[in-house]
């Protein structure tokens, strides 16, 4: 059985996902992805009438069961320091990160 997710596709995804993987991890993950895809292919055989809608979640939201969206309101957060204290590296209230690489967009 040929693998839909080839090594090239796999490593392209890994790059996009910003993951560093060991060889063993890569081998396991690609195998499992292809197995999952074979299971997913079962879906292709299901006849779906054109009017069947996409369900973004099971229960349709309407006025009887969900609130309408409120306006965004800007509010200062009193304990910003508590949030900032979780950052791995900070300096004078700023989060410090390594150099941001320059990249030309295609």
């Amino acid at each position: 059985m040929s693998d839909e997710i080839t090594s090239d596709i796999f490593w392209h995804l890994v790059e996009l996902a910003a993951l560093e993987l060991t060889t063993e991890e890569a081998e396991y993950l690609r195998k499992e992805m292809n197995n999952q895809l074979r299971s997913i292919h079962e879906l292709a055989a299901i006849p779906i009438e054109s009017e069947v809608p996409i369900a973004s979640h099971g229960i349709p939201y309407n006025e009887s069961n969900s609130a309408s969206n409120r306006q965004d309101v800007w509010r200062p957060y009193k304990e910003a320091g508590k949030i900032l204290s979780q950052a791995p590296e900070t300096e004078e209230g700023y989060i410090v990160v390594p150099e941001i690489p320059h990249k030309d967009l295609d």
């Binding site: 596709i9 809608p53 099971g58 791995p88 690489p101």
Partner: protein
């Protein structure tokens, strides 16, 4: 049995009446936890350590609990408290934020994260007087059905037989309640993660309707599927807990505005006149065999099927009508559709972990920001999150999304349609609820299935349709298999029918109250 054996409703009643203090309840539970739990899960912990213990906990917040209990006793002494869960010990699946406590999602990437705020369901439990004992173990980011994928080892074990898994992902929650370490636990269910471990551990687990319980403060997995819900040892306790945590939350725009009925008030109204459905589509599973590459259809073990049939007969004797052969043709597509939808949502939710704002950052030298992202995420995510990120990105990529993602979302509509037709009061079946097995097997052996992500996922085949449809479901204990492992049965109902599910469950609980299997207790060292 002493204090740890008491149901939540009785603890609350006794604490409110000052028959026992919240501190006494807490001390009894902490002492029992010391006896049966063993070492808590930790990063780099030995997974084989103390295999005879339960290992429900990641973080036991003893000091916090003691402070809560003391304050509660003072309020009660002053006549200032009447909360429905006064003094009741609860555990929280470590996927919820609890202010000033480690909130890890059982992942190395959040191992050092201390939540700056508390999740709404936890706030509501504490407001009702519940005492939070701590955070319990789970599959990493909830990704699994055995709790073994936790980065905090040893992972939780099944109190009925510690060679077996407790199920997952709310494995620590179900194990803690089954092992009498906490009276109640707060879990989450994305494909069956409350109901499956509840079935494996012989306790009650309810997935409420999507939106019934706020997700504010829940570390997200599948945002269109995640539901917080109660795990308890009896129906009254489950109803009490749901009553506390259910209802609209201004902090969660997806929480439902539908009024919350009185769940305990309806409990003893019986099942007379109800129509309860059985479906052949829930007595078999179809799964993908990765060895042969074939789809395999398999009937459920006879002893599991029999428990459902026996339950139907009992409910029939109490006045319900049993409707057989309810057709639920899209049940078997629940897992393949879930493979797509949940992965896309998981990948989206996991992109926020980058080593910048909070959580793990690599200690290695890095050349730039991208290198830091790759190393931090590569070192701190376990295999299951990595698998979901990659899979989610693939099936939602522009060139594949119509073929996979959009198709899966349409199939979700078909799964929902199965339920709508079954519950339609003017339809062919006109059933009030569907009665099914909860799981295709009882608890499997530790290490028995771990690593095979496809086979592991199929453990949720009978529970995941409820998540796709958004409807509520409950798993209740119904006896034991030949190996002495618990068997659970599931009741699924229409949107917001939690009161009905609890009422039917209560009728079944009453009908089986005096049966021998109800007297069995887990194998761990329990107080008399």
């Amino acid at each position: 049995m002493d204090i740890v054996g008491l149901p939540a409703w009785e603890i609350a009643d006794k604490v409110r009446r000052k028959v026992i203090s919240a501190r006494e309840v807490l001390d009894a539970h902490l002492s029992h936890i010391r006896d049966v739990d063993g070492v808590s899960g930790s990063i780099n912990g030995d997974k084989g350590n103390e295999p005879e213990k339960i290992h429900a906990f990641i973080t036991l917040t003893e000091d916090r609990a003691r402070k809560q209990a003391m304050e509660l006793d003072e309020k009660i002494a002053a006549g200032e408290f009447s909360g429905s869960l006064a003094g009741v010990p609860v555990t929280i699946k470590d996927i919820f934020c609890v202010e000033s406590t480690p909130s890890t999602a059982a992942s190395k990437i959040l191992a050092n994260f201390v939540a700056p705020y508390t999740a709404t369901p936890v706030t509501r439990l504490e407001k009702a007087g519940a005492i939070v004992l701590g955070k319990v173990n789970l599959d990493e980011f909830t990704y699994g059905s055995s709790s073994e994928s936790s980065a905090f080892q040893p992972s939780s074990r099944n109190p009925w037989n510690t060679d077996r898994v407790p199920g997952g992902s709310s494995g620590g929650s179900a194990a803690a309640v089954a092992g009498y370490e906490s009276t109640l636990s707060l879990g989450t269910d994305t494909a069956g993660s409350i109901r499956q471990p509840a079935a494996f551990c012989g306790v009650i687990g309810m997935k409420p309707t999507y939106g019934r319980v706020s997700r504010y403060g829940l570390i997200a997995f599948g945002s269109s599927l995640d539901c917080p819900g109660p795990i308890a040892r009896n129906i009254t306790d489950a109803a009490l807990m749901l009553q506390v945590i259910a209802g609209r939350d201004l902090l969660d725009a997806t929480s439902a505005t539908v009024p919350v009925p009185g769940y305990t008030a309806e409990l003893d109204k019986g099942v007379k006149g109800m129509r309860i459905g059985l479906s052949p589509d829930y007595f078999r599973i179809t799964y993908f065999d990765s060895g042969s590459g074939d789809l395999v259809e398999q009937l459920l073990p006879e002893e599991i099927k029999l428990k459902v049939i026996e339950a139907a007969e009992k409910l029939q004797k109490m006045g319900a009508t049993i409707v057989e052969n309810v057709s639920m043709p899209h049940t078997k597509y629940g897992i393949p559709a879930y493979f797509v939808i949940s992965r896309v949502e998981a990948a989206s939710n996991l992109h926020r972990y980058d080593g910048v704002k909070y959580g793990y950052r690599t200690h290695e030298q890095v050349s730039n920001l991208s290198d830091m992202y790759r190393k931090s995420r590569g070192q701190a995510f376990g295999l299951q999150p990595k698998l979901r990120i990659l899979m989610g990105m693939y099936v939602s990529a522009e060139q594949y999304s119509e073929q996979y993602y959009n198709r899966a979302l349409r199939i979700r509509s078909l799964i929902r349609r199965d339920f709508e037709e079954a519950f339609d009061p003017n339809g062919k079946y006109r059933i009030n609820v569907l009665l099914t097995p909860t799981t295709p097997t009882t608890a499997f052996k530790v290490g028995g299935m771990y690593g095979d992500s496809v086979l592991m996922q199929y453990a949720d085949q009978l529970t995941v349709p409820g998540n796709h449809a958004g409807i509520p479901g409950i798993s209740i204990p119904a006896g034991f298999d030949k190996d002495g492992l618990p068997i659970g049965i599931q009741i699924l109902g229409p949107d917001f029918s939690e009161a009905l599910l609890l009422r039917i469950s209560r009728a079944y609980e009453n009908a089986t109250e005096t049966e021998d299997w109800r007297l069995k207790k887990p194998a761990i060292n329990l107080p008399n």
